[in-house]
Amino acid sequence: MKQLLSGNEAIALGAYHAGVQVATAYPGTPSTEILENMARFDDVYAEWSTNEKVAMEVALGAAIGGVRALVSMKHVGLNVAADGFFGAANVGVRGGLVLVCADDPGMHSSQNEQDNRHYARFARIPMLEPSDSQEAYSLMERAFNLSEEMDTPVMVRTTTRISHAKSVVEVDGERPELGPPPPFVHSPAKYVMVPTYARPRHPLAEERISRIAKMFDEFPLNEIIWGDRKLGIISAGVAYQYAREVFPQASFLKLVTTYPLPQDLIRTFAAKVETLLVVEELDPFIEDIVKSMGLAVQGKAFVPITGELSTDTVRRGAVAAGLLPEASTAAGAPAPAPEDLPPRPPLLCPGCPHRGVAYVLSRLKFGPKGSIAKGGNSGKTAKQWHIVTSDIGCYTLMVYPPLCAIDSCICMGASITLAHGLEKAGVAENTVSVLGDSTFIHAGIPGLINMVYNRSHSTVIVLDNETTAMTGHQGHPGTGRSAKNEEAPKVDIAEVARGVGVKDVNVVSAFNLKEIEETIRRCVDNDEPSVVIVRGPCTLHERIRGTPLRVNQERCGLGPSSASIPASTWYRFKSWFSEQGCRSCLDIGCPAITFEGGKAHIIADQCIGESCSLCVQVCPREAIEKAPG
């Protein structure tokens, strides 16, 4: 049966047909849909683990228990899971264990573009790379067989363009009948890695990977496509697809097994072509090994080492290397877009519960009496009231104008810890960290405990939107919903904070600016670690729609309307006597608000209505009201 599947869907279906019984993951683009699809199979146990290290080790436990287990994560997730990953390489498995690791060349949704193929070589773990969804489906069964046969975890490495691109898959497998797991075998010499038992494991791993290299010379999914023998190209993954299109006449060695490389196969291929090229995304991983085999080969000399590849970049490289003629100009050349088009960066959605905190942090940047920051603060040395260290999630988007509210985003968990480090360095500013509910549970808790233990004065803001929003609304331990969307025990973040010794724990509403500002100011001013939990549901996830608000066009731009204007510091009257709108509502960065003809307007089908109302709170003229009807 032919189906159009994304790489992630194909991997999940392949794993299901390979008899996987336990699947674990922490959400991360572009890997998330693997576990989401596994969770739809009734006869698979699937969980969102608290982080990638936990996911890795839960899957290893299941494999040692004798069943087939799948663990999936994004590339940087493997940094978190690396300890378990190396441990798994050391002890091996019983049931098959496959790690799917999805890299993100081009950083579509990531903080770096590390090439995780190095991890396979680093840990002596065999690695397979699909070049489309068909291969992704087909190689899962083989990956599990290899894992069990060679007593090793197996890594399947994809990239965004494999994980998310959809292509046609001939689905030819089906789910096998599965019995209960075999009885547990007690073998301390294999699983208890005290030095005495660990030492003999290392030579075993080296010998194992040599044997796998031999096996890979015969691996059925590696393929030689003979064309013109003047040019032979070794490639893998999506890079193969680009190269195939740029060099339709050349000979190809398409590799699925990219670690260990099938050296005899490579030598056979190399011997029969005049010029040997490697086309690969990111690092010269294949190229360096082929060079170390003593073969004359080119690669990164003409294919970029950074960014995502495409047929365009491969073609440009080929022209530069003299392998292809210069592209014909004039008639065939594309027309470039006009310069200076308005950018459209990703934004906090209308009704987003993070906007209020972002606005308050932005307003407080130059002190409680300061004005809102404009255009970012890169390179500025002027002392601010605070330094805001952020974590990774939707709220990281508060870096963009007009909010410009954060100063750092490094990796999961590095909000609380950086703030503590800055404070201990003695910086003059107050330190505030922001992170989400899912991130708090992923990697925030050890940092918080560290703060308590080491007497920090820093303030931690947990933006609790009751979901893992950025990756597409997955459950986590704080949501009370499991990966299969069943009810689950709910971890209370406030109780966790109190439990580890934070005395000043506050819970505020995400849509009450006054309460947010007062709480943050009080917490920052006190001399102990404090936690502010800002609660408000993700409007996208909860599909919140109310009667949209509208701007009363007569009041907008007509000076203060009444004596009832609150005296709070954040209200500004920059155009007190002007008939133009004061633009205060634009400072919250809501995509539902536009400004035309000197007045603000609200786009009705974008506004979620009264449950947000941040614009109402910042308007000094009480011009924003409920639309009639």
Partner: protein, 203 residues
């Protein structure tokens, strides 16, 4: 249909670009073609630029369309049409929903948002034909502005030689039953608009 057809679809997160490209891909696959499709979402849930590449042919390798080689540019928003125009092949066809969705950079930072005529002029430097379609307006008249995504698919379908029953089936498979009627009406409205438009352009 030509053996190789590349369609670039663009718009703003939340407009239904991805759903539309899913429908198109499934129609092409049931018509017996090889298909690859890939989306560029960035980090946007809502409000960011979205691009979807759909490649149809006897055998497709790269999931990404090469610069300057899209046969069709179908954009659900006019600024995004201009942003992606370098992808269009010289002599290709551009179909653009006139709808304005100005980004915050226009509202807050004072960038110029292109008028319908400016968009048309820019695209004409490369496209054989530019269709500026009031798709969102037409969809609103049908009772739901969101069906503009299927309406535009109907428009595009007139240029592609894919069988009509597959289109109807594809739309029904990707949408909940309560939305079938209005979307099928939208598809037909798009087909009709395209037939008229082509006549006017003398195509």
């Amino acid at each position: 249909m030509h053996t190789e057809t590349d369609i670039l679809m663009t718009g703003v997160g939340g407009q239904g670009v991805i759903m539309a490209s899913d429908i198109l891909s499934s129609v092409a696959i049931t018509a017996g073609y090889d298909v690859k499709k890939t989306d560029s979402l960035g980090m946007a849930q809502r409000g960011g630029s979205v691009t979807s590449h759909v490649r149809i042919g006897d055998k497709v390798f790269s999931p990404l369309i090469a610069v300057g080689s899209a046969d069709f540019l179908l954009s659900y928003e006019r600024l995004e049409a201009v942003r992606s125009m370098a992808m269009l092949k010289r002599g290709g066809v551009a179909i653009v929903d006139c709808a304005a969705v100005p980004p915050l950079s226009v509202t807050v930072s004072g960038y110029h948002y292109p008028s319908i005529d400016e968009v048309r002029q820019s695209l004409r430097t490369i496209a054989r034909t530019v269709y500026m379609l009031p798709a969102t307006e037409m969809a609103s008249e049908l009772g739901n502005p969101r069906v503009s995504s299927v309406l535009c698919l109907g428009f595009l379908s007139v240029f592609l030689d894919l069988p009509e029953p597959q289109w109807l089936d594809g739309i029904q498979r990707h949408l909940p039953p309560r939305l079938h009627e209005v979307n099928l009406a939208a598809f037909n409205a798009g087909v009709e608009a395209a037939r008229e438009g082509r006549k006017e352009e003398g195509e």
